[in-house]
Amino acid sequence: MINKVVANADEAIADITNGKTLMLGGFGLCGIPENCISALVKKEVKELTCISNNAGVDDFGLGLLLHKRQIKKMIASYVGENGEFERQLLSGELEVELIPQGTLATRCLAAGYGMPAIFTPAGVGTEVAEGKETRNFNGKDYLMEYAFDADFAIVKAWKGDTAGNLVFRSTSRNFNPVMAMAGKITIAEVEELVEVGTLDPDHIHTPGVYVHRIFQGKNYEKRIEQLTVRKVD
């Protein structure tokens, strides 16, 4: 097997320079690559274009990069939970492209599966359709949307082996596997890095061929955005 292990987040992101386009996995704060985000903050790399379903909260997730003005453009589907985001957007410091969540996911899939474009009905007849090719199949209109072209994909998995095979846990899977397939270079941080042969080949979510660098992360905070519980009767 091919060994993809790097020492830590700093090494994994060492060649991410100003102006690059990054995909970052996660949904809300669930399944985000916490270690790599911290390393990007530390590296002070700037003018990033970030493709991510959300933009974190003020003091966590992508909010940390926003706070340091490291993001030039955000491509996301929902950015509701972030005051600093709103401030930068309204002041014109931050470019934002909002796209439907399914379109976001499928444009990742398209990149990972070598399909230059896909057709989706999402956004037909809305401002999302402006400037896009609309095409009718079987009586229904679809927009043609292009595969993403990202320099780096940064994902967070539960377990991974030294060959880069990844397994995700529960709904922290979300965008991570499709983004892992879509990056020109894919960096995976994992809660537990294991030897090859440990993971069941039938239950690998992302085959190692899609992963270029892997490291065991540390100090995962895994913050909960909306704590909702039942009382025990």
């Binding site: 669930c30 950015v79 499928t106 809305t126 909702t228």
Partner: protein
């Protein structure tokens, strides 16, 4: 007149045995509380889960297990987890039988606006555009008029659209409405104590109401 729970309760009656259902944020979320006994329904959460269960007991919350509203939830026996591409794949291929979501405006031809108010901070459409463009059966749960007292059932939407010609049914605090294929809102049921005239007054779009529109049964 119905309260939010009343709207949710009425919508729950639309859910049939064997349905896969996607519930939006807000009133739609409450629908889960009123699914009739003996009905087998599977809730999809578009962040990647089929078989959404209730909130966890205190102390049992799992940061890796949330719904599309980012709330901590639980799975059920038979749940399945998948990635976002598959989640919207099954939405687009109409494997989800019913989608219930909120709206700012619905037009008499079934257009919906629920994601953007010009001049205000825009949070994004999330999965709403995918859901309304794909679902075969969409019910809107909303207040009949906005905070300024203006009707949300309109001849045409004034806000930026989320999707076109997609809404089949609307439940508000005043009643239950079909969106007719040829255009217009057909009043099916009045909320308890609400008259057709009151509903007509609150509805800017074309309203069709028979003389004997029944009052909703509790």
């Amino acid at each position: 007149m119905l309260d939010k729970n009343g709207i949710a309760k009425r919508i729950a009656k639309e859910i049939k045995d064997g349905y896969y259902v996607n519930l939006g944020i807000g009133i739609p979320t409450l629908v889960a509380n009123y699914i009739p006994e003996g009905i087998n329904v599977v809730l999809q959460s578009e962040n990647g889960l089929l078989g959404m269960g209730p909130f966890p007991f205190e102390g049992e919350e799992d940061p890796d297990l949330i719904n599309a509203g980012k709330q901590t939830i639980t799975t059920l026996p038979g749940s399945a987890i998948f990635d976002s591409a598959m989640s919207f794949g099954m939405i687009r291929s109409q494997k989800i039988d019913l989608t219930i979501l909120g709206a700012m405006e619905v037009s008499e031809n079934g257009d919906i606006a629920n994601w953007k108010i010009p001049g205000k901070m825009v949070k994004g459409m999330g999965g709403a555009m995918d859901l309304v463009a794909s679902a075969k059966n969409i019910i809107v749960a909303m207040q009949h008029v906005n905070k300024a007292g203006e009707s949300k059932l309109l001849p045409a939407c004034t806000l930026p659209l989320t999707g076109i010609k997609c809404i089949k049914k609307i439940v508000t605090e005043l009643g239950v409405f079909d969106v007719l294929p040829e255009g217009g809102f057909k009043l099916l049921e009045r909320a308890p104590g609400v008259t057709v005239d009151e509903i007509r007054k609150a509805t800017a779009g074309k309203l069709y109401a028979d003389d004997d529109v029944p009052e909703m049964v509790g």
